[in-house]
């Protein structure tokens, strides 16, 4: 299979060094006849927004590390924060780890 149009992949980038890994991933996909274009985001919210609005991103990526660290040390449940927590959690669940239009992963 050879795709002439690159798949647009979204990724959150906190450290410029991580772009090196994405270059390697990009080369791998290119060599295997499935070019990808990576769009970097400063946070997951922006990335998920772009995916849901189908603006740039066709495939979103999310690291386990980040998923864990975002929800590290949760506040103890209380009347005040229960709603916020569940809303955040459902937003988080809505964000697909992989997959959307034309995803082959």
């Amino acid at each position: 299979m050879f795709m002439d149009k690159p798949i647009i992949v979204g990724a959150v980038l906190y450290n410029p060094k991580v772009s090196v890994i994405w270059d390697i991933i990009g080369e791998f996909f290119q060599d295997n006849g499935c070019p990808i274009d990576t769009v970097f985001y400063t946070n997951y919210e922006l990335q998920v927004e772009a995916l849901l609005e189908e603006r740039h991103v066709q495939v979103n990526t999310q690291t386990r590390h980040r998923a864990r660290s975002r929800h590290r040390e949760p506040a103890p449940p209380s009347k005040d924060n229960l709603g916020v927590k569940s809303r955040q959690a459902s937003q988080f669940r809505r964000a697909p780890r992989y997959g959307r239009q034309g995803s082959f992963l």
């Binding site: 980038l13 410029p16 060094k17 772009s19 090196v20 270059d23 769009v39 970097f40 985001y41 400063t42 946070n43 922006l46 990335q47 772009a50 740039h56």
Partner: protein, 151 residues
């Protein structure tokens, strides 16, 4: 001032990704990407050339002036560190602010000499006043310059 303007002309060409060749007088050198974050990258980036040029300007300038002022110097070495305002903007990260320009350059110069500290400091100050790169960059970015005499 009625002096003829002196202009330096270099030719830079590329026919492949991140592989520029600079032609200057009868010399040439290769330059890689503008910036790279891969420690194993096999070329010298444009940014590294700039930082290296600053260091070379300082150490060679200091050496030449020391020679001229008859101050004996055994060795001059500089450690240069450069920081971009926000490297993520160079990578086009959506949502980042700032710019990919140099924010800060730190130059630490070590001079091995038996001359007195005062003699070295005088040469150092004269070098800073005469350095084309220091004089250009000092008003534009945060420029930290320090010199230490070692035996």
């Amino acid at each position: 001032m009625d002096t003829e303007r002196y202009t330096w002309t270099l030719r830079v060409s590329t026919a492949a990704k991140d592989r520029a060749t600079v032609f200057v007088r009868q010399h040439q050198f290769a330059v890689g990407a503008p910036v790279q974050f891969d420690a194993a990258y096999d070329s010298i980036t444009a940014l590294e050339y700039v930082l290296g040029a600053i260091g070379a300007d300082v150490v060679n300038g200091l050496w030449a002036l020391a020679l001229k002022r008859r101050v004996e110097v055994d060795h001059v070495e500089a450690v240069i560190q450069g920081e971009l305002n926000n490297p993520l903007t160079y990578l086009g990260v959506v949502g980042e602010s700032g710019h990919p320009g140099l924010e800060q350059v730190s130059v630490k110069v070590y001079v091995a000499s038996l001359a007195t500290d005062e003699e070295i400091r005088r040469v150092w100050q004269e070098m800073l006043d005469k350095s084309p790169l220091v004089r250009t960059l000092q008003p534009a970015i945060r420029f930290e310059l320090s010199m230490q005499v070692v035996l």
